[in-house]
């Protein structure tokens, strides 16, 4: 079990800062920020929600414990006026998966880059920028990756029309 030592570290950073509310939660209900989830039904072992300014810290914890970056993606929660950025990590020895979620405002979609920690995040962040227009602050080369060089649209936003 590689997730156990991580749990307390995540809890320490998750309570600091103020993560945006999670979709589906009852208003006002306490939302656990660090969640152990069953792998068999979710495919995820540890579900962590952190605030945008804590994401680098959270990723550093994983990097120190030798986790592998699998993917970064976004979800556009139009109704809540939020973007969710999802980081998937896995461990090559145990096959466990940690998902770090960050919620940011749709009006000011900005969060710090992790491409200096994980080189592979470079392309994933560029892709997320392509699709959602999320700006990763400090990214060395935030230009369209999959879309044409001059693309100024973000197709996976729910309010996108061609």
């Amino acid at each position: 079990m590689k997730i156990l030592p991580l749990k307390s570290k995540f809890e320490a950073i998750a309570v600091r800062g103020t993560p945006a509310p999670v979709v589906g939660a009852e208003a006002g209900a306490p939302v656990p920020l660090v969640n152990e989830t069953p792998h068999a039904t979710k495919g995820i072992d540890l579900d962590v929600t952190v605030s945008a300014e804590r994401v680098v810290e959270a990723v550093k914890i994983l990097d120190e414990a030798n986790w592998m970056l699998e993917a970064i993606t976004g979800v556009d929660w139009l109704a809540e006026r939020q973007f969710e950025v999802v980081y998937d990590f896995t461990h090559v020895d145990s096959g466990e998966r940690v998902t770090v979620r960050v919620r940011i405002s749709r009006d000011k979609p900005e969060l710090p880059t992790i491409s200096h920690i994980y080189g592979g995040a470079n392309w994933h962040e560029r892709e997320t920028h392509d699709f959602f227009g999320i700006i990763f602050l400090g990214h060395p080369q935030l230009i369209p990756l999959l879309l044409p060089e001059d693309a100024r649209f973000h197709p996976l936003r729910k309010d996108f029309t061609a």
């Binding site: 879309l147 044409p148 060089e149 649209f153 197709p155 996108f160 029309t161 061609a162």
Partner: protein, 166 residues
């Protein structure tokens, strides 16, 4: 609507020469090594042992557009790729032919949906196409049939038996 321009008949005919030239061209269609997506694998399979395009003298896949006669558009043309496809077509010397292989190259195929943002719906929006080979992807037999159809177009008559004739 474009105006139909009537082409006056030529004064001098080189019928025999034209026939010989077209016969030679039909039997030596060198395609360009140009794969776009799924259909490219079937294009490779067509060149490989079981189907063997070499029988008709068109297995010489030239990597440079300057030396190829036939552009097999094998796959989806994304909007990012479209300028490159046009450039490649322009780089080919005359006479040149285009074979649109697969539904994506014909019309956008399965990737055409209302609100799509990324593909060109058919290569004929970019460059003139001589033969369309439908399929997703077309089987190698279909591609060979497409090439034979192109030969038919060049020579004005079919030299190989069709399926119906058998």
């Amino acid at each position: 609507m474009e105006k139909q321009v009537e082409v006056p008949p030529g004064l001098i005919h080189f019928a025999m020469l034209d026939d010989v030239l077209n016969m030679a061209r039909a039997n030596s269609l060198w395609p360009m090594t140009f794969g776009l997506a799924c259909c490219a694998i079937e294009m490779m399979a067509t060149g490989a042992s079981r189907f063997d395009m070499a029988r008709f003298g068109c297995e010489v896949f030239r990597p440079s557009p300057r030396q190829s006669d036939l552009m097999i558009v094998s796959g989806t043309i994304s909007r990012k790729m479209a300028p490159a496809v046009v450039t490649l077509y322009d780089q080919m010397p005359e006479p040149k032919w285009v074979l649109a292989m697969g539904n994506c190259a014909i019309s956008g195929g399965p990737f055409k949906f209302p609100g799509q943002y990324g593909i060109v719906e058919g290569v004929d929006k970019l460059i003139p196409v001589d033969v369309y080979v439908p399929g997703c992807p077309p089987r190698p037999e279909a591609l060979i049939e497409g090439i034979l159809t192109l030969e038919e177009k060049l020579r004005g008559k079919r030299c190989f038996p069709t399926v119906e004739a058998r």
